[in-house]
Point group: C2
Chain length 298, copies 2
Amino acid sequence: MLTNRHIVVLGGDARQIQVIEKLISLDARISLVGFDQLDRNFNGAAKVAMDELHPEEIDSLILPVSGTDDQGQIETTFSNGTIRLTRDWVEKTPEHCVIYSGIATAFLNQLTKETKRQVIRLFERDDVSIYNSIPTVEGTLMVVIQNTDITIHRARIIVLGLGRTGMSLARAFHALGAQVKVGDREPEHIARATEMGVAAFHLKELEKEVQDNEICINTIPALVLTSRVLSRMPSDSLIVDVASKPGGTDFRYAKKRGIKALLVPGLPGLVAPKTAGRIIANVIAELLQDKLKGEESE
Amino acid sequence: MLTNRHIVVLGGDARQIQVIEKLISLDARISLVGFDQLDRNFNGAAKVAMDELHPEEIDSLILPVSGTDDQGQIETTFSNGTIRLTRDWVEKTPEHCVIYSGIATAFLNQLTKETKRQVIRLFERDDVSIYNSIPTVEGTLMVVIQNTDITIHRARIIVLGLGRTGMSLARAFHALGAQVKVGDREPEHIARATEMGVAAFHLKELEKEVQDNEICINTIPALVLTSRVLSRMPSDSLIVDVASKPGGTDFRYAKKRGIKALLVPGLPGLVAPKTAGRIIANVIAELLQDKLKGEESE
């Protein structure tokens, strides 16, 4: 339980609703900033404006998945107002105040250095990344089904990268009857793909392997689908790039060659906001409770 | 090969392009009616108007999946003109002329009786139905992903009917990690579901089984999701009815209760016209060649 802990949720999208509900169930004291247009009220969470908060009374700050922009501004779906985090404001919070963000941003990195407040980047955790791969897979299925005139079943599909997301993608497309081929650099990933019953190749063979490709799904956050590789790929291929921005595809060249290439980061919040929200809610709840237990036993 | 056979393709959608290509590869003599606006020409297939045809020279007639309407009119995507089949016209074809249609229609049934020409209903064949279940599954995945805010993974999903399509649906959703429960009347289907590792129940238990449902997919072409059943289903459930029109859901009552219920027959042509066309092309090619062999050996 989080009784008497004051947690402030600053902005975000539909996913934060799951976080708020979870924190209410744990009896925290909750303030919501940037939810004034949300057509719903919560028993146990107060909608307030940023300047109504007393930073010295805040135990935890929860930011959206996107964190902040370079000026500290925070995205919020449920308000027309702007929310901005500043160094001065954060310095007024107690030293034990922890900031939870989905991803790291330059502003947050700088803030940590200057204010010594801990910033936890939830999406850098392996567990969050693996749980999040589930809605990412389903979003990718949707995008592929919408953008091809063939079935996934029996299609020749290349998955680039057998990391936390690539593993889930390879498994799902394989289960649906696709002819999956995984490209990776790590011998253990190539071994794992083989164990799973899908074909595997080393990325240095990519130029050769794309020659009869129908659908290519990239998870690697580095330029792997170069113009050289794309020049060998059939022009009626579909590329779905789920790596974080700017993706791993030379989109300019893909367009020139007539290959449909889609950069689709952030699928979880798009196709399954409730499940994606629960993933974040569960890990935040666990971290907050662990922290409280740690403080109590000190 | 179908050398010197004169085959007429009457109307249809993008799926017929696969049929035309397949028949060309088998060296048939092909006339296309209702393709005047198709932005493409075929080497070995002539676009003609209905009144340019000599019915006495036709060996086979290929209709679209939908067959004809009650007046003998034929749907065509690639023409603004209308195509109509009449008894008089069909009677002028040689007695061995076979008519291939996706489904049976009242008009075609009457035509068979009156003209003694054989009408083959491709979609009544088990093999076609099973092959077609593959794009149906992928279309259903798309519809479910688009219309829910949760993932398929771990969702409570009921599949009604473990027939040719239900089997494919149950397998795919199970493979993606859903909690699948199959409802059917046949003991052997309940046994098969159990063998596949999914839960199963007899349809007479449906009222009880829907109480914690999240997603219900119906394949049974009879009213199974009655108002009585729907009154027990959570109102935030999603129903996807893939049974042929009018489906198996009391849509009026579902709407009244606030349950989102979608009737989505014909998914294969929508989500994977190329694969769906190949399925039809392959079975037509096989049937035509078998018929020719049969005639030659007589």
